[in-house]
């Protein structure tokens, strides 16, 4: 049997298993919005750990990151850097959000912020922001999937078809099972991804150079040694600027825990302890970026001129002398990375679009059943929109995500103020959010206007904080009772006091 056929069959088997597991898991949660969106708030540490890790690591990690290591060297280290500090806020925000969510029945990030700031407008703005950031995030996952299958099959499976089949599977299990579908499949995918990353990351440098140290010594001795020097290379091949590297780290660090689909997992945790433990253990998952980047570095001298750089991983797979079965498993793992983020993002986008966007906008109450119908409709609609862009647009994976980060980072000041600055008012929060989004978007589309070459998110954050503080202090404080709820949400007893 031709190798590529074996590989495709394994990928197909993987997709089938995921589909079955995902659909079957719909039997284990209550048929309610709580069940669909928050997994009945009962996810245990193991499942939550893999949901978080697998959701975060995606085509960005498996294709984009090694692509950067391959083409830009040390610039790729920014990805590890922001992950180091980016998860920490969730240790503090998560338990508070969970407690408040349990008390008031919140399942999304915007619901809580709208309550804290007494503003339906904030909810709608956040919903639009979230969906706007999610679409490119989904698009890059779909492109990643299409790319993998196309590259390893030598073009026999065109990209549009690979993306369609892969995300057809995702669509079905998200549609039927919501977040529990994600939980089970992510556990499976998480184990897969970890094993494969470590295996390839150590195997490749070993076979191509004789070891990790030997590999870096060779690169250091070559013409390309500049790429190993921090902060690596820019898109133009010249050394990247420290301002851009540092600001990319800072903006991504602020935005990381604010991604609505990650943040809302706080509501799904079984307990505060579970949630915190997941945050604590997260670096162990993150460590796998090390072998992932090593894969990218392994391609530098052995296979120069692979373009686009995002394809270095599937390309290397076609070059090394491994059994097609192993290659098939590796491809399935890369698909897993894409799907495990795509499903969480799709699910969150639909839930948020309905609960935080459409419902407050339409100013109507809906039955639980009606809500689920709407969410499912959105699941289909958003899939189609993201798929359209995946097929039609020419985008770079990392650039897309870095741009989206500028947007989600604007949520951070509001989240911080929610718990730690009771003087922040609805008007201030809205002003800050809108200013941040506006400035971020301005410098994203017109970078030549930047005074200093920094990530546009930094400018957004500056405008955001200034407006948040200035407008809050100029408007009347929010009612003290509600502020008390949030300020005291860090401890159990106070948060359960029988007041509004």
């Amino acid at each position: 049997m031709d190798p590529w056929l074996v590989i495709l069959l394994i990928c197909g088997a993987y997709l089938a298993i995921t589909l079955v597991m995902g659909v079957w898991s719909s039997r284990t949660v209550s048929a309610s919005v709580d069940g669909y969106v928050a997994g009945d708030r009962a996810m245990n540490v193991v499942v939550l750990y893999f949901v978080l890790g697998a959701s975060v690591f995606s085509s960005f990690a498996f294709l984009g990151a090694p692509g950067w290591a391959y083409s830009r060297g040390a610039a790729a280290f920014y990805i590890i850097a922001y992950g180091v500090v980016g998860m920490v806020p969730l240790y503090f925000f998560g338990p508070r959000a969970r407690r408040i969510g349990e008390r008031f029945g919140f399942v999304t990030q915007a619901e809580m912020l709208a309550h804290r700031f007494d503003s339906r407008t904030i909810s709608v703005v956040l919903a639009v922001l979230s969906v706007a950031a999610f679409i490119p995030y989904m698009t890059l996952q779909m492109k990643g999937a299409g790319y993998i299958l196309a590259t390893i099959s030598d073009g026999r499976v065109p990209e549009w078809l690979g993306a369609l089949v892969t995300y057809g599977v995702v669509l079905v299990y998200v549609f039927t099972s919501g977040v529990m579908g994600i939980g089970w499949t992510n556990t499976f995918q998480g184990v897969f991804m970890l094993s494969i990353a470590w295996f390839l990351g150590l195997y490749l440098p070993s076979t191509l150079y004789g070891g990790v140290g030997a590999m870096f010594n060779e690169i250091a001795a070559s013409d390309l040694r500049a790429m190993l020097q921090a902060p690596g290379l820019g898109a133009d091949g010249e050394p990247w600027s420290w301002a851009e590297y540092s600001s990319a780290v800072v903006v991504s660090a602020f935005g990381f825990s604010m991604w609505p689909h990650l943040f809302m997992k706080s509501y799904a945790a079984r307990s505060e302890r579970t949630l915190k433990l997941t945050v604590v253990l997260y670096p162990t998952f993150q460590l796998f970026l090390v072998p992932i980047l090593l894969i990218g570095f392994a391609g530098v001298l052995a296979y120069p001129d692979v373009a686009p750089a995002d394809t270095i991983v599937p390309f290397l797979l076609t070059q090394i002398d491994l059994s097609p079965v192993v290659v098939g498993l590796v491809c399935a793992g890369t698909l897993a990375a894409s799907m495990s983020s795509g499903d969480a993002i799709l699910h969150a986008a639909a839930s948020i679009g309905l609960r935080d966007g459409l419902r407050p906008l339409l100013h109507t109450s809906m039955s639980d059943r009606q809500e689920r119908i709407w969410i499912r409709t959105l699941v289909v609609v958003l899939s189609i929109v993201a798929y359209y862009f995946a097929v039609v647009s020419e985008v770079s994976i990392v650039a897309l995500l870095l741009g989206a980060y500028g947007g989600v980072a604007q949520i951070f000041p509001l989240m911080f103020a929610t718990f730690y600055w009771p003087r922040a008012t609805g008007a201030g929060a809205l002003a800050g959010l809108l200013a941040g989004i506006a400035v971020n978007t301005l410098f994203l589309v017109a970078p030549e206007l930047k005074p200093v070459p920094l990530h546009e998110g930094i400018y957004g954050l500056m405008a955001n904080v200034v407006m948040l503080v200035a407008v809050s202090l100029s408007t009347a404080p929010e009612p003290a009772e509600r502020m008390r709820t949030y300020v005291e949400s860090g401890t159990p007893a106070a948060a359960e006091a029988p007041t509004a």
Binding site: I80, V84, K276, V280, P283, P422, A494
Partner: protein, 84 residues
């Protein structure tokens, strides 16, 4: 907070019921994380951004980042265990 009808104008990180041990632990933890964050960007990271020495086969620019991943992980474990 001072009284039910009063909203303080400054930040509130700890409630009155929060014991001193919790306060200093959390403050120390945040300080460690901030140190890590600063170490990973300019102007500190440039001082450790060279290729050599290789540490466990990784260039210093790479190993330095992994080091701080380990530091924050250790701090998280410490904080979690002290609170649970």
């Amino acid at each position: 907070m001072p009284s039910p009808s009063d909203v303080p104008s400054g930040p509130v990180f700890f409630t009155d019921s929060s014991p001193p041990s919790r306060r200093w632990r959390r403050s120390l933890f945040i300080a460690i994380v901030l140190v890590a964050a600063l170490a990973l960007i300019a102007p500190v990271y440039p001082l450790f951004g060279s290729i050599r020495p290789l540490i466990f086969g990784l260039p210093l620019s790479f190993a330095w980042v992994v080091l701080w991943l380990a530091v924050v992980f250790a701090a998280l474990v410490w904080l979690y265990r002290s609170e649970h």
